[in-house]
């Protein structure tokens, strides 16, 4: 047993899990074309969930703050983007890729700006007074989530809203008998870009060095002369903005959104950060990919089990590694 895990460790350890999962699904599904479609869908979903979850994980890692209102950023991102896209429907429908891209970029930028602003507000007004008090933190961020959902209901109403997609992301590529939706590729690419960006900032810059050190031992970073609390607000805002972008991408993926979206995604996001381990973006990415793939494979193989499958995945991983797969905080 030890030798097996040692060998596995040499080839990437827990990072092999998505590959093992995909291989297992390949055998179970049997049809390569369905498998390829599901895998692409799972990877795309995983990347969008990664966008939503990475901020939560870092925020917790750095300041021991668990924000139950995080999913509000996802919802707001989705609805803000949907509104911008609806307002620019002329550009979207145009047979001009540049106009398409401009509309899409504006929608994402709007969601991101909203996330930054809402993140700033959350951190300074809602959370700062209750640092170091988990009980009140959970209660207050939960209260903020309730209020946010009600604001969404009041502004956008309770009925589902159709999200327009830019023309150039509609449709699918057909390779052999495999059909791949273009939007999924786009979502995957954007998520991957965000991951690489985060990775580089965390591993190649002084700011990132401070964040990584702070996740491990906040007190010591302060004793070296750095104000972690001032760094934290930046991390909080970036995390919130990523969640909002994730929500915006998710809106385009689902094409029909309701105010319940945030609540549904919150469960998935929590499962991802628990599986991945708190405080590391590598862990979050791993958790997100596992959850995305599992959801799609199980949704195909045994639709009734789709939601419970994430739960089973989480239980199994917690039994194996109680702190998650790649925790940065012990």
């Amino acid at each position: 047993m030890d030798r097996i895990s040692e060998t596995l460790g040499r080839f990437g350890g827990v990072y092999l899990l998505p590959l093992i999962l995909a291989a297992l699904a390949f055998v179970l599904i049997g049809a390569p074309s369905s498998w390829a479609t599901l895998t692409v869908a799972g990877l795309a979903m995983g990347m969008m969930v990664f966008l939503m979850a990475s901020g939560l994980s870092l925020i917790f890692g750095l300041m021991d703050v668990l924000n139950f209102g995080h999913s509000a950023f996802v919802s707001f991102g989705a609805f803000v983007a949907a509104s911008v896209l609806a307002a620019l429907s002329g550009w979207l429908g145009a047979d001009n890729v540049l106009l398409n891209i401009a509309a899409l970029s504006l929608a994402i930028i709007a969601a991101m700006s909203f996330g930054l602003a809402a993140g700033w507000f959350f951190e300074t007004v809602i959370i700062r007074p209750v640092y170091h008090d988990h009980l009140r933190q959970i209660l207050i961020t939960m209260g903020a989530l309730i209020v946010s959902e009600q604001i969404i209901l009041a502004v956008w109403g309770g009925t589902p809203i159709t999200v327009l997609r830019p023309q150039f992301l509609e449709g699918a590529w057909i390779i052999g008998d495999v059909s791949i939706e273009i939007y999924r590729i786009f979502a995957f690419g954007l998520g991957l870009a965000a991951f690489i960006g985060l990775y580089l900032v965390l591993n190649r810059t002084r700011l990132g060095l401070l964040v990584r050190a702070g996740v491990e031992n906040r007190e010591m970073v302060e004793a070296l002369g750095f104000r972690i609390d001032r760094l934290f607000i930046g991390v909080f805002m970036v995390g919130s903005a990523l969640a909002a972008v994730g929500g915006a991408m998710w809106a385009g993926y689902e094409t029909l959104i309701t105010p319940a979206l945030g609540g549904e995604m919150m469960i998935v996001v929590f499962i991802v950060v628990i599986i991945g381990g708190l405080g590391s973006i590598e862990g979050t990415l791993l958790g997100a990919l596992l959850v995305g793939l599992t959801a799609n494979y199980v949704g195909f193989l045994a639709p009734k089990l789709a939601l419970a499958s994430n739960m089973i995945l989480m239980t199994a991983i917690l039994l194996w590694r109680p702190n998650g797969l790649r925790p940065a905080v012990k």
Partner: protein, 233 residues
């Protein structure tokens, strides 16, 4: 004038009073050793100076400035470094990253770096290794090295010899003597023989109070006092 003055410092952790009355005068230069039994309040004293616990009434003066109520980071910037008991190294970061983090501007001063690698040659060997993979002694060296990457006037060191092999303890003593030419060291120590070998002044804390303060030479000469205060045999 003393470099560091603690004036009737009291510290509560939660509802529990840990320090009742700590007054100290740490003169500039040399090694000042804080002795005392387990749980006497030595670590709490260092943490209170560093602003990691907030001393309730009473003041901490450093080089004429009142540190009471100041943020830990600002205290550090005034020239105090801290080497905690658990060494506080960042295990996921490399040795180099641990050290560069301690620089003010994000780059090394080459002459200071040279001094560190001369004092602790082992660190250079493991330069790009993640710090969790170091041995206990190497971790302690890294933690001390981090405190002298930038010139600091006062270095607080909590039980640096705990759990270290005798050979490494000897190397530590040498390093501390060398460092104390440039900075004042305030050292918490259980190992009296180590303390005696490097300390110039000393104080004993018991039950949250300073019960004795003198030069190390005087204290070392008074065997009955040692027995009474430290419970040594």
């Amino acid at each position: 004038m003393s470099l560091l003055t603690l004036d009737h410092m009291k510290t509560n952790i939660g509802q529990y009073a840990v320090l009742h009355d700590v007054s100290l005068e740490v003169p500039e230069g040399g090694v000042f050793v804080l002795l005392g039994r387990n749980g006497a309040g030595k670590t709490t004293t260092l943490r209170s100076i560093m602003g990691l616990w907030k001393p309730a009434p009473g003041t901490v003066r450093f080089d004429g400035t009142d540190l009471t109520g100041m943020h830990t980071a600002d205290i550090a910037r005034r020239g105090i470094a801290y080497v905690p008991e658990n060494m506080g190294i960042f295990g996921n970061l490399t040795v180099e990253e641990n050290l560069i983090l301690a620089t003010d501007k994000g780059r090394f001063d080459q002459s200071r770096l040279k001094r560190i690698t001369t004092l602790f040659p082992a660190l250079e060997r493991f330069w790009t290794k993640q710090a969790w993979s170091l041995s206990g002694g190497q971790k302690q060296m890294l933690s001390v090295a981090r405190a002298i990457v930038e010139p600091r006037r006062l270095i607080l060191i909590d039980e640096p010899t705990k759990g270290l092999a005798p050979a490494i303890v000897a190397a530590m003593a040498e390093a501390f003597t060398e460092i104390s030419r440039e900075a004042t060291l305030l050292l918490v120590e259980q190992n009296f023989h180590f303390a005696r070998s490097i300390g110039r002044d000393m104080a004993v804390i018991d039950n949250g109070r300073v019960v004795h303060s003198s030069s190390m030479a005087d204290f070392a000469a008074d065997k009955p006092l040692q027995d009474r205060l430290l419970g040594l045999s």
